[in-house]
């Protein structure tokens, strides 16, 4: 009995080592092999400026560029599908696309049934003060500018702030409620309170664990460049309001 158990444990140990040697994890549907073999990465793009956008019908934005770079590393080209998030998540379920990007957050209701990547960037929304000033301890009666339709508005109102919705947030005077990378880009000092926190992820089909590992390794390595590009876009005065608004 005892001998049998020992043999069992030993066998299991060997099995584990053997498996470990041959490149776990693997994909259930061989997504990564297929991308490398066919040289095509099918990517879904959710328009979400400044993360992703379209310029003259071509995908732009830091995440779109990162996807192109990932494809290049794998020796593939990107075949883009531009669609709303819900449509692309459905496509992921059916394995019609290999990865979906566009400032998608870990809170997205679809990602639980799919292969959610590792949160590579955590973004927080704060109230920021112009250079040389600080955000007052109490926002009671303070005037704060927010982007139209931003969820920060009602929260600030509940705190007693006077909220002004402005189209061009980057030109608004005084306090502004914005993402940390925007505040950094404008040289603003962020206040303590967090109005909203989101973890950004890339999403792949369920069960494609080797592909997920590849995507995660890539995107974690590229978190800093992506953040820098976001910061630059804020500095350049692009305000991410309505994603479908054509500013040019």
């Amino acid at each position: 009995m005892r001998g049998a158990r020992r043999v069992g444990v030993l066998l299991f140990g060997w099995l584990a080592l053997l498996l470990g040697a041959c490149g776990l994890p693997r994909d259930t549907h061989g997504t990564q092999e297929r991308i490398v073999r066919d040289g095509v990465l099918r990517a879904g793009l959710v328009r979400h400026e400044p993360w992703t956008g379209l310029q003259d019908g071509k995908p732009t934005g830091p995440e779109a560029e990162a996807v192109a770079k990932l494809a290049e590393q794998l020796g593939a080209r990107v075949s883009w599908t531009v669609a709303p998030e819900a449509e692309l998540m459905h496509a992921l379920e059916e394995r019609a696309v290999d990865v979906v990007v566009g400032g998608i957050t870990a809170k997205s209701p679809w990602v639980k049934q799919l292969g959610a990547g590792q949160p590579y960037l955590t973004t927080r929304m704060h109230v920021g003060a112009p250079p040389g000033q600080t955000v007052p301890e109490s926002l009671e009666g303070a005037s704060v500018s927010v982007a139209p339709g931003s969820g920060a508005g009602p929260r600030l109102q509940a705190w007693g702030a006077r909220v002004r919705e402005v189209e061009r947030l980057h030109e608004a005077p005084g306090l502004r409620a914005a993402w940390d990378w925007q505040l950094d880009g404008w040289g603003y000092a962020a206040g303590e309170d967090v109005l909203r926190e989101e973890q950004r992820i890339w999403v792949v089909p369920a069960g494609e664990n080797r592909w997920l590992l590849t995507v995660d390794r890539f995107v974690v390595d590229h978190a800093e460049p992506i953040r820098r590009r976001l910061l630059a876009s804020a500095r350049a005065g692009e305000t991410p309001t309505a994603p479908d608004e054509d500013r040019r």
Partner: protein, 328 residues
Amino acid sequence: MSWRQRRRRAGHARGPVDPEDLPDDKRRLLKRAQRLEAWSLAYLASAIVVIYLTLGASQAMKAAWLEDLLSLIPPISFLVGSKVAHRKPSAEYPYGYHRAVTVAYLVGSVALLFMGTWLFVESALKLVRAEYPSIGTTQLFGHTLWMGWLMLAALLWSAIPSVLLGRAKLPLAESLHDKVLHADALMNKADWLTAVAAMLGVLGIGMGWWWADAVAAGVIALDIAWDGQRHLRTALGDLMDRTPRTLDSKHAEPLPRRIHEALCGLDWVEAAQVRVREDGHVFCADVRLVPKERGPELVTRLGNAAADLKRLDWRLRDVLLVPVDRLG
């Protein structure tokens, strides 16, 4: 409150414990068992935390986690039961507190049965719906690592110390005749099987076999439910005062036969009928006997016989001898 003070208070609270309850050597064993169970609790808590942190989307990991969570029940029942069960009978509870252990046993087994069944149904649904489990990555010392490796490490931690604890508890359970401790020891010993099943599930996901995870979880769930029904049947039997059986429920306990033989060996006893029931970890015997003569010495004889019978086995707590005209 300092640790020492708390100890003293705990000692004080144990005042009403029957000092005659356990023989000296057994009391030492009980202390050891309590220490082992306290260690088990601490270890299990660590295993539960470690597995929870690496849970991910794996159903097999969830099953292993739940199994660890449920295996908290026996040590807790044992520790609480061993404090409560040895209290002296009171006006409120004239038969003492020995059944507290059986009650704990019943509650624990029902929990096992239901959780096991529920988990099995959930795993089966995952198979039917062909849900593909995704195991992502995590950052460890600056490296992006597949979570599966961490899961395997966590499962190893939940398996190996558990087996050692189980092996240490088993002989204690036998010499203390404690069912909860026995069930706990067996669960610990079998825990490595659960861990191996969950490991195969995780490795299966790694191999790209999406079904391996749900199958492993289903096997673990069945194991939990099976344990549950086994313990439930034992607990119900105890509450129904079934004829005592040995700890593993495989054989009839020889004590009733030995009592009967001892009584029939007495020259003043014509016939005797023995019923023995189990109160937690002790036995109580009800004996009806037909004496050959009914002189004034009968009461003394009955008293002596009861004292002699109690010496047959330390677990025999109570012997009630009732003289009758004839056996019904």
